[in-house]
Symmetry: C2
């Protein structure tokens, strides 16, 4: 067989490596606007605070899917579509029953979402309308699947969804088999709104990368879940809870933080790659967590967190380090009866709207994502017989 001639590798000036693709623009988007310096997050131009105060997760999902607010009739139709899709295919329940009870919920969720394709006869419809259809399916079903996984792992029967409850209230109902209070449902709704989208974060980007080969929505969201699972992405609010457990009570906070700073160790839930001021989502969560705390009682974790925030802002605020969204979300979820190991699945439960919306937007004018690497291996090497190595 002919061999290539040696001149094929030339010493040339190699292009710069764009580490982590930081700052590299690969598309346009009408969805999230983020100003990290000023602590601003908007969805389709609407400040996140206004949405948290007035909107619902359902309306926010419509906003992301269609890049505008719905009319009353549209919202009602959209809500009905989501409700219609809540019930889990019985075949999927059969599969979930075979999952080991101690399986990491994100392995379980990723596998369950991948399995959903089995129960959709038009799973491979990648037309724009087909993708919107899958987006509705995935948004509705992710909630039902997470609740079912949660219950099965505790040897409890899954609870069938209700259609007289909001997305947020129904999820808490499916989880605990009891209706949440209106304040609890609203707080969870707000948490879902706040996490629904956030620019080209790693999981959204991974979902888009998958979709860019014109693969289907189930493949793409499965990829996004796999990416979210990583501790550099989801999971930071779990770490905040671990830290709070170590601190114990508010009066220990000062000593704990001082020791951390002295050892130059990271304090969990503070600082953000993008935000150099208060993460606007943390402000909203704190405000509403306060409302629920005032009604249902302030947990020790919540009181400890308030103290930690006070110290952190005083000590690190001048360096652009402020509490981020993970700082409060863990305590909020915990106070709503959600176990730590389900915090990342709950992130997915919300972000699925942003993932699917971003994929629909990107693939409308699709380009397959295929960056490159600078080759740093041997210029010329040859296969050598085993006995000569």
């Amino acid at each position: 067989m002919s061999q290539p001639t040696p001149q094929d590798v030339s010493i040339s000036t190699k292009p710069a490596v764009m580490d982590g693709l930081k700052g590299v623009v690969f598309t346009e988007s009408k969805l999230s606007f983020i100003d990290g310096e000023k602590g601003i997050l908007k969805y389709v131009g609407i400040p996140i605070q206004e949405l948290a105060e007035n909107s619902t997760y359902e309306e926010t999902a419509f906003l992301l899917f269609h890049a505008r607010l719905p009319s009353a009739a549209e919202l009602s139709a959209f809500d009905a579509e989501l409700k219609k899709r809540r019930a889990m295919p019985s075949g999927l329940t059969d599969l979930l029953r075979l999952y080991p009870k101690d399986l990491h919920p994100m392995h379980a969720l990723r596998t369950a979402i991948s399995s959903l394709a089995m129960f959709d006869s038009s799973a491979d419809d990648t037309s724009q309308s087909g993708k919107l259809e899958k987006a509705l399916n995935l948004t509705a079903q992710t909630a039902t699947i997470i609740a079912a996984l949660f219950r099965l792992q505790q040897s409890l029967e899954p609870v069938a969804p209700r259609t007289d409850l909001s997305h947020a209230a129904n999820f808490l109902y499916m989880l605990h088999a009891t209706e949440p209070s209106p304040e609890q449902a609203r707080l969870f709704d707000i948490a879902l709104i706040l996490h629904a989208d956030h620019g080209m974060n790693a999981s959204t980007f991974t979902g888009i990368a998958t979709a860019s080969t014109l693969s289907d929505m189930y493949s793409s969201i499965t990829s996004a879940i796999g990416s979210l699972k990583g501790p550099l992405h989801g999971g930071a609010n779990e770490a905040v809870m671990d830290m709070l457990a170590l601190i114990g009570t508010p009066e220990n906070a000062e000593e704990f933080i001082n020791a951390k700073l002295e050892k130059k160790e990271k304090i969990m839930g503070v600082g953000h790659a993008v935000y150099k001021f208060f993460d606007p989502r943390s402000r909203v969560l704190k405000e509403y967590a306060e409302v629920v705390a005032n009604k249902h009682g302030k947990s020790v974790a919540y009181s400890t967190l308030e103290k930690v925030e006070e110290i952190v802002v005083a000590r690190l605020g001048s360096r652009g380090i402020y509490p981020n969204v993970d700082f409060y979300s863990g305590v909020v979820y915990s106070d709503l009866g959600l176990p730590k190991s389900y915090f990342t699945p709950i992130f997915a439960l919300s972000r699925v709207a942003g993932w699917t919306a971003s994929i629909i937007e990107y693939t409308h004018k699709n380009s397959i994502l295929r960056p490159t690497a600078n080759y740093t291996g041997p210029a010329e090497a040859h296969w050598i017989p085993l006995e000569q190595r």
Copy 2:
């Protein structure tokens, strides 16, 4: 709740959109070297032709995992490790039995690989040695899973792997429950070598994007499979077979190609985003396919393909359009008794070595992949009460 002030959106010069991230370098790699102009592909500096002629898939996988050829002892230990991992966990077989028989094999494979995490108690070990361990697991198991899916979909019992056969021969054995001829096994081995890696293609990149959040190997390879499923990536060799079925016999080739060119329609399996000369993999495949054809008889599809190549090179070669790897691989697989719907899973069966090797290499000096988008939505919008919309 306080509202942001309107000055937060300024009209600024936006950075250029790097469409498809084409030409953007995001990392360094010692694995593949590709010169598309000259039709060169090397793994760790070794021309693909030399590997096809002398190496095995097992040795090539070692080369990719360790960026060097193994010693005889290392190769034998590596081979033993792969063989040890061939048998499928029985719990996974139970799950596969529940998959619908008409499920797209790529949905099935993606879900099965995601499920593999259930049967690995150290699935989340993302240390470098842990990832190498998972890479071995995934390389061995992907073959067993694909063969089992293939048989279950035809209501046949899965065939247990043998440890006295090579990776390639064992796969064909598990598929058909009969041992392939040495020539068939060797041809399939070569096809696996040729597809094992190819730079930062979309599925490798998607796997890396997932791993860049420090997510686990099962998540990452699940993502890669979802990406490969897209028709812009895997699946082109299926389209070649469809074209050959339309042409029928060699004597119809000229008329068919002429009609296609006149209508400016795409001819499947020719032209490549990177190669502007013969795709070196297509040359190797052709040569070995010839050996098998001479022994087992030349199929009509193979003869038709030869004729199509002759016409295409004469008519389009001057424009840099040559047969690519997909041009021959479909006929090779088909002549080895593989159905068209399993061509993309077989691509995964080979590429899993390149995926896992690339992830191990990238995450050694990891940066989370988080590019950005130019915001093109409304600069300022507000939530409006439903009755005012």
